[in-house]
């Protein structure tokens, strides 16, 4: 009775999956010691044609248990024989089978099953006997039916091994089965933790601290033999490279160690200029409010953005070179939102966003081959020349006008603004500029461009008064406001208006930017609006681009609106002035103001 109770206890555990288990009713009967009924249940299950072979074997195991419990060892032997045919490694649970019955089982097994003592290397290789998966017995041997069998062992990183063995029932046979390695594991060590490892150009993971006190590492298992390229990358650090030839070391199966790579920081200096008052951020992190002293940034491609009042004024990628100070001249760019297609080539000159919906403050939308300004409700064709790049804004000047004149030399100073930087430095009309900052200039245009783009500080001019006589003069350029040439046609006028609005928003204190916006209004045919805008602020009294310059354009706008009397007054003011157009070195406005 005690033995029966023990058997019942063993049968309770599988009851958890009774609902899906076709053997569940039989198990229930066994639990309640209704062995005969259990046998009937099991007979019915075993007779089912649709039963899976494994379940059928399980049914036979239960049946053998029931028969042993009923004392019918002879029938149990028949079941054991059938079970061993399918599962040569089968052994009844010793605690549930009386010793006498177990002896009967051992006799049945000894007549049918032999043992293979496998010397398997590596131990964790997977086994198959005659093509079917097999597992080792708990004692590390393999039970098989008597007869000839083919054993196959496989493991990643090794070539598969196969052997045929003849097994005698009740006897044991020794079989060595050693697999040859065909791969090598690599342990990449690198600092700091988090560095990303690339194998042959593909990311394969990041190094992490695997053991306390150990160096960060990444284990790459069973890499194919041969040459491999390893890279360890981490933002703001120099990338480590290694070429490694992986081969098999039969004596040392341990992973090959690579490294440790100690990644050094890689940084450059960015020196931004322009867009004062706006906030500059690098890779989404705020650096500060412009103007900023040169600051250190991680080497590599960085995303720089400059925004003011929630409106992005400039955005772009900047290549930061290690150790090299790099100037970042910031001028406002209209933001171009791209929807539905790739950005057009000309979009490189703009700040491009691909967000959907477009972010606030977008000046242009590019969608399916067409640019549109939502602010000003204009459509711009992609071949518009203005789209090839932003207009030049502001420039440095030394107050000279230059001309080329073969054979009288190039970059000859033909005009010298009184009290201009060059005149104050003693430069004379008639001299020619042969070099700027030691760099030869070959034309008036080149000299003007070099001066216009000069950075802050003095410029060294090499001047030639007559052939062979040269001297050097130091001149500190001033910055002149720069008015943009009016756009030549209506679509460009609309785009210019969008641009000028972005500029004016970006440079609230810039007189030229304000003037450009009003000029753009006038060019777009919005003359009344231009008149009101000219009058809506106080323009500075200064030489060059000044309030009289504004008076001129106001006068022309008033003429266009039909207010001849007011136009006459302001044009007379311009006609009596020494104000200029374009820049402080541009044409005098006075003669133009006298034109009826």
């Amino acid at each position: 009775m005690r033995r029966v109770l023990l058997l019942l206890a063993l049968l309770v555990a599988p009851a958890a999956f009774a609902q899906e288990d076709p053997l569940a009713p039989a198990r229930a009967k066994l639990e309640s010691a209704a062995f005969e009924q259990a046998l009937r249940e099991l007979d019915a299950v075993i007779a089912r044609a649709d039963l899976a072979p494994e379940v059928r074997v399980d049914a036979r195991v239960l049946r053998a248990q029931a028969l042993v419990a009923l004392g019918d060892t002879k029938k149990a032997e028949a079941e054991w024989t059938a079970i061993l045919e399918a599962r040569p490694g089968f052994r009844p649970e010793p605690a549930a089978v009386p010793a006498k019955a177990m002896k009967r089982f051992d006799a049945v097994r000894a007549a049918k099953v032999g043992t293979v003592r496998l010397d398997l290397d590596p131990k964790d290789a997977t086994l198959a006997v005659d093509g079917k998966p097999a597992v080792l017995d708990p004692d590390g041997t393999l039970s098989v039916l008597s007869g000839a069998h083919t054993l196959r062992a496989e493991r990643s990183g090794f070539d598969a091994a196969e052997a045929t063995v003849a097994v005698t029932a009740g006897a044991a046979v020794d079989l060595p089965l050693r697999l040859s390695p065909n791969a090598r594991s690599v342990l990449v060590q690198a600092e700091p933790a988090g560095a990303e490892v690339f194998l042959d150009g593909q990311s394969v993971g990041r190094v992490e601290v695997l053991a306390e006190g150990g160096a960060p590492a990444l284990l790459l298992r069973d890499l194919p033999l041969g040459e491999h390229a390893f890279e360890v990358r981490l933002a703001c650090h120099r990338t480590a490279h290694a070429e490694e030839l992986l081969n098999v070391d039969l004596l040392d199966r341990a992973p090959k160690h690579l490294g440790p790579f100690r990644l050094e920081r890689a940084e450059g200096t960015l020196a931004p200029s322009g867009l004062d008052g706006a906030t500059l951020s690098v890779d989404g992190k705020s650096v500060g409010v412009l103007p900023l002293q040169p600051f250190v940034a991680c080497a590599g491609t960085r995303r720089v953005e400059v925004a003011r009042g929630g409106r992005r004024l400039w955005a772009g990628t900047v290549e930061v070179h290690e150790g090299e100070p790099q100037t970042l001249a910031l001028t406002p760019r209209p933001t171009l939102a791209v929807a539905g297609s790739d950005p057009p080539a000309w979009a490189e000159a703009w700040s491009v966003e691909t967000a959907d919906p477009p972010p606030e403050g977008v000046d242009l939308l590019w969608s399916e081959g067409e640019a549109r300004s939502p602010q000003f409700d204009v459509v711009v064709t992609p071949d518009d020349p203005l789209l090839s790049g932003p207009p030049l804004r502001g420039k440095r000047t030394i107050g000279v006008g230059l001309a080329d004149a073969d054979p009288w030399g190039t970059a000859r100073i033909v005009r010298l603004r009184k009290d201009g930087p060059a005149a104050r430095a003693g430069v004379r009309a008639g001299e020619r500029i042969v070099a700027i900052g030691g760099k030869p200039v070959r034309s008036a245009k080149e000299a003007e461009a070099t001066i216009a783009a000069a950075s802050e500080g003095a410029l060294e001019l090499t001047l030639e008064a007559a052939a062979g006589e040269s001297r050097k003069v130091s001149v500190t350029p001033a910055v002149t406001p720069l008015l943009l040439a009016p756009p030549p046609n209506k679509p460009q006028a609309a785009l210019r208006l969008a641009w000028a609005a972005a500029e004016a928003a970006a440079r609230p204190d810039d007189v030229a930017a304000a003037a450009d916006l009003v000029l753009a209004l006038a060019a777009a045919g919005r003359t009344q609006a231009a008149v009101e805008a000219w009058r809506s602020r106080t323009w500075p009294a200064r030489a060059g681009i000044s309030k009289e310059t504004v008076a001129y354009f106001l006068g022309r706008a008033l003429q266009a609106t039909g207010d001849a009397a007011s136009a006459g007054k302001v044009l007379a003011e311009a006609a009596a002035s020494r104000a200029t157009a374009e820049s402080d070195d541009g044409p005098a406005i006075a003669p133009a103001a006298k034109s009826p």
Partner: protein, 363 residues
């Protein structure tokens, strides 16, 4: 404030009340004023073109006009600056004037800009050079005083097949044609294309002519053989009208002055230079630097209003500005080198034909 501008003004787009003249209209108006000698008016409109439409095609033409006006005023630096703008804007024909302006500036600043040593261009085989003309293309025409034949040479010195006979005097026009006096007529000839001479007008009482000049407005000025009468043939007129008559003068050579200023007249009897305006007003320009020692025989001018005068006795050429100041001199080193006829190029270079018939150029 800017937000007010951007948001407030965009809403109200009013129609234009008056059609403002466009850049092309303004430039046309400026050119008309320039030809009429109204330089100030021309400069106003041209400046307006540059100020209001600096990127337009008209702006280059306007800059060239402003360069010409400033050249005529002797404001060389300002002229060079405008002409540089004109060249950059695509007005290539402004380049020679720009060179002229720059060398004028250099001369004024005492930094050189003078003529270089003359170089041979061609052997004309002309026995008695009486006049030398230069066309805008660089073609030169030499009048042989002995045979009354006008012979032309391309810019590279190659002789052109065109040969015009019975010529008393000739002058170059801005369009590349020559006005020649032959018999009792004025003709228009094209030495580069060799087309038949086209009758222009009768010489009337100015026949036979001793000297011709075509001014910036296209009017032809004629001095008669005795040099006592000066006439002007306005474009389209059947014959010249008398402008000056003086028996105390001997008007032997003429040269055009900048727009609106008429012509320069070489009075060899007084050894002086005069200017005669379109309305006939006569102004002394300069006393020639040789005084009674010299014998001036030839006169040439450039677009800046500078005048080159050749003295037959000394074989010297002097360049004078509009005020009569000597800007440059070119002296012949030998009699053989002495010029007999001169012309000024648009870039200020000096062309000359020596007594032995060599066409030379002093750059």
């Amino acid at each position: 404030m800017r937000a007010v501008v951007a948001a407030g003004v965009l809403a109200c787009a009013l129609p234009l009340h008056a059609a403002a003249p466009g850049p092309a209209d303004l430039l046309a108006r400026a050119r008309g004023a320039e030809l009429a000698g109204k330089e100030e008016e021309a400069a106003r409109d041209a400046t307006r073109v540059v100020v209001e439409a600096p990127a337009s095609d008209a702006a280059a033409g306007a800059a060239a006009l402003l360069g010409r006006v400033r050249l005529g005023e002797g404001a060389f630096g300002e002229a060079a600056w405008w002409l540089e703008r004109a060249v950059r804007g695509g007005a290539r024909d402004a380049a020679p004037l720009r060179a002229l302006a720059v060398r004028g500036l250099l001369r004024a600043q005492g930094m050189g800009g003078g003529w270089g040593a003359p170089q041979d261009v061609a052997a004309t085989n002309v026995k008695r050079p009486a006049a030398l003309l230069q066309l805008p293309s660089g073609t030169r025409a030499v009048l042989d005083g002995k045979t009354a034949t006008l012979i032309s040479f391309a810019a590279d010195g190659k002789r052109l097949p065109t040969e015009i006979g019975d010529v008393q005097a000739a002058a170059a026009r801005a369009d590349g044609k020559l006005v020649v006096a032959a018999g009792e007529q004025l003709f228009l000839v094209d030495p580069e294309r060799g087309s038949p001479a086209e009758p222009l007008a009768s010489l009337g009482r100015f026949a036979p002519a001793a000297a011709l000049a075509v001014d910036a407005a296209g009017d032809v000025w004629i001095a008669d053989r005795k040099g006592v009468r000066l006439g002007r043939l306005p474009a389209g007129a059947p014959e010249p009208v008398l402008v000056v008559e003086s028996k105390s003068m001997r008007m032997e050579a003429l040269a055009p002055l900048p727009p609106g200023r008429g012509v320069a007249v070489l009075d060899t009897r007084a050894g002086a230079l005069l200017s005669v305006g379109p309305d006939g007003t006569l102004h002394p320009m300069a006393a020639l630097p040789w005084g009674e020692r010299g014998r001036p025989v030839a006169l040439a001018s450039d677009p800046a209003g500078q005048l080159a005068v050749l003295d037959e006795k000394t074989g010297e050429v002097v360049l004078l500005d509009g005020e009569g100041s000597v800007r440059d001199r070119l002296a012949a080193s030998t009699d053989r080198e002495a010029p007999a006829a001169i012309a000024l190029g648009r870039d200020g270079s000096l062309d000359l034909v020596t007594g032995d018939g060599r066409l030379r150029r002093a750059p």
